[in-house]
Subunit: 208 residues, 2 copies
Amino acid sequence: MEYMKVKGSILVISGPSGSGKTSLAREVCSELKDRAYFSISTTTRPKREGEKDGVDYYFVSKEEFLKDVEEGYFLEWAEVHGNFYGTSKRQIDEALNLGKIVFLDIDVQGHEAVRKAYPNIVTSVFVTTKNKHVLIERLKKRGTESEESLEVRLINALHEMKRIPEYDYLLINENFEESKEFIKSIAIASLIKTSKYDIDKFIEYWRK
Amino acid sequence: MEYMKVKGSILVISGPSGSGKTSLAREVCSELKDRAYFSISTTTRPKREGEKDGVDYYFVSKEEFLKDVEEGYFLEWAEVHGNFYGTSKRQIDEALNLGKIVFLDIDVQGHEAVRKAYPNIVTSVFVTTKNKHVLIERLKKRGTESEESLEVRLINALHEMKRIPEYDYLLINENFEESKEFIKSIAIASLIKTSKYDIDKFIEYWRK
């Protein structure tokens, strides 16, 4: 299909910690099976209980991370809450060539960088809770937050939310099943965005 | 939800006669049940075999149609192949207030008019065949076409296709089940487009 610029598509999912974005992204990705690829980020933040290297993140030291940055390994990277997070470019390109929907669980800065790098094939969703009280509840239940970092996360959440207009979709995550249906729908639709096609080439091919 | 400008959304489906857009739209609409509303157009074109008034179209005379135009009854109307087609505004607004996805099976001019009238809540798909040969086959099978009108329809198809860049999605309808999944996904996603929200109001509500 020479009239399709890239076979796959990119779905960026952002939102405050505690919004449920990662569970949603992972669950939908696994339901889509071969059609989707969940990009695993590299991070310097400490492993949480139950997390696995190479599944949840690639856990590396700050030294290793900064070396990768220097070598141009990352499509985007950012410092959040004092830790580094980055997305490897090669893995994404491989998945795109296979026609997959690449799920990226990244923050607002990462979204900006990815949109610049792949202007025609990015679709984005911002996931958040109904209100701040629900977010606080979820963060407390996670049990990994001190009172201080909770405060920091709330301030960050509000900062990120100011950038919602840069996103294509806003998902208020109240019901897991409903939210999954939205993410899945957005993911599938992303494959046939008009911006993915070279329309002149398509018309030429069509009328032959 | 005071931060949602309109509860529902509009899904415009356009494409050449014979692309299969109407069957797709109707089938997906019926699968979505209460969540969707298929807008029935008014037309002056002769009823085809098997078509029913009030189901496929509201069939009216040219005189009646032009009277409705004068009275501002239509959101959009157009002359295509010598016949008039129009979309009633009141029915759409009622469905939107109920939070439904309103399916509009209209042409490129209709799309332009609807986008102007509802800039924030319109999503659009252009449906076409893989190439012109498939379109010709389908039109011939329909058996309602003379050789002459077939030629006219092909020229019109190419004219419409030049306006694909105005659409959000391009669906090359090769497999009915796959195409249905795309339309359904696009329809569901349309409900949470960022442009449907007043983000400032939402943030104000969120932090309270």
